[in-house]
Symmetry: C2
Subunit: 277 residues, 2 copies
């Protein structure tokens, strides 16, 4: 029997979407849900639930499953200082914990990948296991993209931000950068723009904001694949956005059909843009 894919599942809808896709492909799947991050549905579908910092427990489960590949899916955040303290005794060594404590989310996940590879596991990205979940290039809905300048500025800006441990999404209206995503995440950033707009400090009508989201240049896509889904579209629509542009092949779309339908219903454009050659 084929070795399963073990999904190390954080928050959001991506872990179950990935599990669904893999099973449709006929691949056996095991889900290890990370307590405090994985959604309830994910935890229910999981064969095991462990704390992010319970390295020993996580490794025991994974070794028992003998997965052909491990895939990190869904968001996790760097744990707080108390959680780290609790892990001192269980985890490999103080130095590693200290480094994780100092790192951003990226650094944390890179540490997890290194740890798993040290243990002989293969770590694969969602994009490699389920390329069908990636945003394709082109116009994805019924609404033709507008605001080409804002979209271009958004991708250029994200390119400039690539060397920094910062978010992977920006909002641009006209030539104006309305927001750069920080640790708050895309939905909270969109809510911020909504508030700014309400206060009259942002352009309106033909200068409606657009969300631009894509993976960092040179990003290890196994670690942090940007994701959009129907909820992203609803948030952006509520904030008066004209549309969403994502990096083709560099962004996952959770439930493609529902996402496109939502965009059509809200008369927002949705476009996948290939990275500039």
């Amino acid at each position: 029997m084929e070795a399963p894919v073990a999904i190390l599942a954080g928050g959001g809808a991506l872990p179950l979407a990935l599990a669904h896709t893999l099973r449709q492909q006929g691949r056996p799947v095991e889900i290890l849900a990370l307590r405090g991050f994985a959604d309830r549905d994910t935890r229910r579908a999981a064969g095991a639930v462990r704390d992010l910092l319970d390295a020993r427990g996580i490794l025991d489960v994974l070794h028992a499953w003998r997965p052909g590949a491990i895939c990190l899916a869904g968001y996790v955040h760097r744990p707080g200082p108390l959680a780290l303290l609790g892990a001192y005794s269980a985890f490999r060594n103080r130095e590693l914990i200290s480094r994780l404590a100092a790192a951003g989310d990226d650094g944390l996940l890179r540490g997890v990948v290194n740890l798993l590879e040290d243990q002989g596991f293969t770590v694969a990205g969602v994009h490699a296991l389920a390329p069908g979940l990636l945003a394709p290039a082109g116009v994805l809905g019924e609404v033709s993209p507008t605001a080409a300048a804002a979209v271009d500025i958004g991708f250029a800006l994200l390119g400039s931000l690539a060397p920094y441990d910062v978010g992977q999404a920006v909002v641009v209206a006209g030539t104006r950068v309305c927001a750069v995503e920080g640790p708050e995440g895309t939905d909270a950033m969109i809510a911020r723009v909504r508030k700014l707009w309400g206060s009259g400090r942002l352009p309106r009508s033909d200068q409606a904001p657009v969300l631009v989201k894509t993976a960092k240049t040179g990003q290890d896509l196994r670690i942090d694949m940007p994701v959009i889904g129907p909820r992203t579209v609803r948030c952006a629509a509520a904030a008066g956005f004209a549309g969403i542009a994502v990096g083709a092949g560099q962004t996952m779309i959770i439930d493609h059909a529902a996402t496109v339908a939502e965009a059509n219903r809200r008369r927002m454009f949705l476009v996948g843009v290939s990275p500039a050659g």
Copy 2:
């Protein structure tokens, strides 16, 4: 008698601080307060109050004053669509208004400078008229700067953002970028970090955030000089920041003595960093 400096006064404490400094130097000063932006104290000290879009009214006042130089000081924002509509009849032409409507704050202020220069006025920056208000290089308070890596990352990131119409301040904790300033301004950005910190999603203790603020590389300092003051220090202290680093000669400090005293009281470092190279 020497021709006065005309201060075109937006919001914040900078216009009065500038007026005070200039008068100490023995220069006559006239203040034109921009309604809806200038603080109450500024409006009281002003010889005239006009709407930002009342170009004819503003030019009439300025021509009557025959200023040796005009200085834009204090913040203004791009006016909303209704204000722009109202200005169609009064202002020069529809094309200019449309361009201002599409521009960010930078574009708006550049348009104002161009308009004033077209009319034969000299537009001077606060930095040129009152260099004593600029942040000097070096440690400005009692607390020795820490978080050198975060400060370096902050300045590098602001350098990367220079080509974009986006804020001039960032918050970095460790190697993590916690926030990039958008149109919401520095205080609101700091409040955002405070909230993130409260939610446990940011590093703590030795990784306390630092505010880094400086003018964009190549920025016309007559248009948008970044400013800090005692209030900035109070906001940052309330959010648990370790300190503030500003670009020496590229940032104004409103009330230097009070700002340094506030930083000392809060045990925060305050440092002016000379541009690299």
